[in-house]
Amino acid sequence: MSENTAALTAPSDDDGFLAAYGFVPNLFRAQSRLPLAVAAEQNLIHAAVIRDCRLTRGQKESILFSVADARGNDYCRALFGSATQDKPPHDSAVRKFVVKLALHAPWFSRHDVATLRAVGFHDEAVLEIVATTAVGQMLCTLADGLRPAPDRSLDHRTSGPIAAAGPFDWSEDREGPYLGSQAHSVDKLHPYNFFTKEYGFVPNLYRVQSARLDLVEAEIQALTQILLPEDFLSRIQKEYIVLAVSAANLNTYYVAMRGQILSALGGVPLDESDQIVDDHDQSSLSVADKALLEQTRILAAIRSSGNQFEPDRLREHGFSEAQIVEAVVVSALVNFLNTLQAGVGAGPDFPPRRDFGRKDLYPFPGKARPIFDVKPLEDPDSDLVGRVQGGDIDVFEELVRRHSRRVFGALAGILGNLDDARDATQEVFLKAFEHIGTFQGRSKFSTWLTSIAINTGTELLRQRKPVETLDQEDEEDFRPRQIQSWTDNPEEFVVAAQRDKLVREGILRLPQKYRVAVLLRDISQLSTEEAAAALQLSIPALKARLLRGRLMLRETLSPYFMRMENRSPDA
């Protein structure tokens, strides 16, 4: 046994936590139904954080605190704030690196690793920083999903302004690995032979960590003890979660790898995996599995909206408490693995079928800025929002006035009924006021508000109809049938009031998912990216729904706007 693997004698069960923290954190008590998963998480923490290597445990706990602080995760801030209280804050270059990796992994490039090397960190130390950041992501995800009671009183000290992490320039220097080398001499060695046996190949992500076999071994233990057991969720369901959360994290490497694994494991065709990546709602998964992916995508490290994980949505679909905990645990592992890959820059094992790039991050050409966690420069509401957050309630009145039309439009799209939409508009603003303290400017205020409107509308619709009927409309066979040319200026063809009525009726007749896309984009005039963020869809998925909705609407309007010579007498 090598020196590194010898260190993997971490204690298990409560003893390990008592030795590490002096108590068993509630975060792990909340997973008591999954003792194997807890042991695996504990081993990862031991290998990545507790064991002193190039960095001390104290330095690494500072990193965990920075991750929790950047993600606004109060549970983990309290857990690690106290642990780091007496230690000096770690180097600002490290903090910047960590925050960027935790919140903006898709922007990460070779350049970021070079900045740490430039201030004296060797590759093994950088690997420790990356792995510790990944553990921080895992712990924050667990806390987001399981919402344990705090273990300690919250320490309000922060590690510095998050804005220091951005804005970023997009670097094209992304060919990996950024660290180490993808050593090919390890395939038959322990612990790498696990991959050869299980997958038939050794993924590059693990090859680049060959300097830390104890870490690789802990990662293998996490894979085997979290992904393989089928006591609650099935292996295929877990692989769906890995794929969907990796897609939400815009992780090209993992999406390519897990698509192949799904194909080999369960015979899931690559086209079906592509559909899950782009828009799981359009896939052939069961309604329950779609709900599972909808909720776990909310737990992704890259957060596109202020939505929270809602276990009740999963209970409605018959998932047990153990299955819900397991879904959170799997999502946390995915965020660990995705962050690790982004940090070390492991090169692809398979040619990617879906290559996430700059276009998925920030769509406006010529401007490079992240869409998360840096206050959007153009948000016209930021001053008013800040004043409301500061206690000036009266200012909220202007926000209601500004946005009531947009909120109403979104609700009308979901509810399909204008009177219900009017009533629900009030509820949305009351919820927004109640939660405005949590709004951190990660998106525009209007996008955040639209997300609340969508959640509120969806909830009302659920109360009105059985869940299964939400998207049951059979539109799979849709093909354009009206192929007569239209008159040149259709706007002038009917009076405005009649035109508005036709549009309203046409939109209200669309299946819900297309109706909302058309309303957000064409009526509320959100950008494609804002609409995608509000609906928690990828940009390609939003575009697909929008196009389908527009084509269906065209079909409805065609009889009224086609050229006279093409009309049938009864049109």
Binding site: R401, T425, R499, I507, Q525, L546, R550, L551, F561, M562
Partner: protein, 80 residues
Amino acid sequence: MLSCAEFLAEFGDYLEHSASPEVRLRLEEHLRECKTCTVIVDSTRKTIRIVTDSDSFTLTAGEVEPIVNDVMARIRQKTR
């Protein structure tokens, strides 16, 4: 050349004039040969124009103010 089904699956960005040059060339090659898809592109663009310009889902000023007043009254009552 693209089939009509492939064209219809891909022309979303083209409608908004945001397709990449390569995609645009492929789509336009199809359009030169296909009258049906040309009609669909033209009428879908006009659909978007009509929908975007319509007031179908707009609250009137007379409808906005009661919402503002009700929301603020409920907030003030809660925070009192």
